[in-house]
């Protein structure tokens, strides 16, 4: 009597959870922009036997954006998930994996992400700041003002902007613009930059030192600027994609 087919894999089974962790680490390891994502829900999983100890796994994952920039060395498990009220961003990924002799590897993934709708946020939190477009004029001005302010006061290296991660604007009870952006240390001190800023270039890959800044401008009633930047220190690239190229390459949604 032929062996009964294996029971369908459940989305909360340990094997599915292990596969989802491999998938999300693969996706974050190949992401070029923005923030790390974490698994919020395993929506579906299908196993297609290929032979003895050889299965294909097709998985659909719901992800949520965390507050860790993609260049941050912080382990994903320690990255705080962006809350609903902070205008969460969700990801939806289809992943094809292979499990051979117990080892899971990703063959392909296709993801897209989108911010939660402003209407949903408004319903739950009328006064919460909403995500603005990254090229919004107020966001660009705030990033520029915050980085210039930090560079004018720092005793460390002059920092250059790598990318804007997020911008949020609220109008009540005050007009506030909040921004987050990734930076890279250059080969200049802040003093040298005052003399010839054109000469200040990002450090080469083997000395690279990236960081992350948050800035807030209260536009009204008073023009008040706050900025904080933290450098990660030099990191040896873990994945086969050099760190710097990850930020400067065009966003690629599919990997295979």
């Amino acid at each position: 009597v032929p062996a009964a087919p294996p029971a369908p894999l459940g989305c909360d089974d340990p094997e599915s959870e292990a596969a989802a962790e491999v998938a999300v680490n693969y996706i974050n390891g190949r992401s070029h922009h923005g923030y790390k994502f974490t698994v919020n829900r395993i929506k579906d999983v299908h196993v297609v036997p290929q032979g003895p100890k050889n299965n294909l796994m097709f998985m659909e994952l719901d992800l949520l954006e965390t507050k860790c920039h993609i260049l941050s060395p912080t382990p994903l498990a320690n990255c705080t998930v962006r809350s609903f009220a902070e205008h969460a961003v969700e990801g939806d990924c289809d992943v094809k994996m292979q499990k051979v002799d117990g080892t899971i590897s990703v063959l392909a993934s296709k993801c897209h992400s989108n911010a939660d709708s402003s209407e949903d946020i408004r319903k739950v939190c009328p006064g919460c700041p909403l995500l603005a477009k990254l090229n919004d004029t107020e966001v660009l001005e705030t990033v520029s003002a915050a980085l210039n302010d930090f560079n004018s006061k720092t005793t460390g290296p002059y920092l250059r902007l790598l990318e804007i991660g997020r911008g949020q604007i609220q109008y009540h009870p005050a007009h506030i613009v909040a921004v987050e952006f990734a930076v890279g240390a250059t080969n200049c001190s802040a003093e040298e930059a005052k003399v010839n800023v054109e000469a200040c270039q990002l450090l080469p890959e083997d000395q690279s030192n990236f960081g992350f800044c948050t800035g807030t401008v209260v536009k009204h009633p008073s023009q008040d600027l706050k900025v904080d930047c933290q450098l990660y220190g030099h990191q040896v690239p873990t994945s086969d994609i050099p760190l710097l190229s990850r930020v400067f390459q065009p966003t690629s949604q599919d990997t295979s």
Binding site: P8, G10, C11, R41, I42, K43
Partner: protein, 38 residues
């Protein structure tokens, strides 16, 4: 002689009686939500 009972009758008799308080297992997918649902 073999008499063929109506399917309904068979189904009725052969239906496995569910123990009191039987809770069907949760559907295998989608899985649990770890943070919040958007």
């Amino acid at each position: 002689s073999v008499t063929k009972r109506a399917v309904a009758e068979v189904a009725q008799h052969d239906k496995v009686p569910r123990p009191v308080g039987f809770v069907p297992p949760p559907p295998p997918c989608p899985g649990k939500i770890r943070h919040f649902d958007i």
